[in-house]
């Protein structure tokens, strides 16, 4: 079993399983904040998936995507918090 196989048949499935779990939380909510947190973790997990994938394919290029992901996911979270805090409660 090569390293690639290990990553492919063990690590990636576990990571995708985690994504599913995260998604369950996304669907369940209950509050918007839960979804935002879940969304954020989706992305962070995505970074992990991408870097594993870059090893599997021997493509360091993919790490650049991970970099962008990291940069921007943060902004999304901030925007949501901004929104959540500003939104009037009676809505």
């Amino acid at each position: 079993m090569t390293l690639q196989d290990y990553l492919y048949y063990f690590i990636l499935p576990v990571l995708t399983l985690s994504v599913i779990l995260l998604f369950i939380r996304f669907v369940k909510g209950p509050s918007i904040s839960d979804r935002v947190v879940s969304l954020d973790l989706h992305i962070t997990t995505g970074i992990g998936i991408i870097s594993i994938y870059s090893i599997i394919n021997d493509q360091p290029t993919f790490l650049d995507i991970a970099m962008i992901l990291a940069l921007i996911a943060f902004l999304g979270t901030i925007a949501f918090s901004y929104y959540i805090e500003k939104k009037e409660k009676n809505e």
Partner: protein, 126 residues
């Protein structure tokens, strides 16, 4: 040798992420979910990234990985903090078994400011 390091790092990272994922489903309230998961995932991803740095073992890649890790470690807590405080501000409640809530009633809703102790609150009320 490298392979082993990679396997260890990535397995560890993956498990952390997985646990965090389980945690986010299991935890009873938002704040617990945030505090359990944010960091677990952060560390987990950090480890995985480290494993890829080991794998490629080139200066360019390594420096990039370090940058990513640093960046994640810098931004993840800020994000968690922001979403947490916003949620609290909006009145998303704590788990019913929570033991203590020092923050209760400390927010000035109209001005979005936070006080440091209760006394001012009373003065304000009078």
């Amino acid at each position: 040798m490298n392979d082993i390091i990679i396997i260890v790092l990535s397995t560890l990272g993956t498990l952390l992420i997985f646990l965090a994922a389980v945690g986010i489903v299991k935890m009873p309230d938002l704040y617990l979910r945030i505090s359990v998961t944010t960091k677990a995932v952060t560390l987990g991803v950090g480890l995985i990234l480290a494993s890829s740095a080991v794998y490629f073992n080139e200066a360019g890649v390594v420096s990039r990985v370090i940058a990513i890790i640093l960046f994640i470690f810098l931004t993840a807590p800020i994000g968690a903090h922001m979403i947490g405080r916003a949620s609290y501000f909006r009145g998303i409640g704590l788990w019913k078994k929570s033991v203590i809530d020092d923050l209760k009633g400390m927010y000035e809703k109209s001005t979005h400011t936070l006080k440091s102790d209760d006394k001012e609150d009373e003065i304000f009320d009078q």
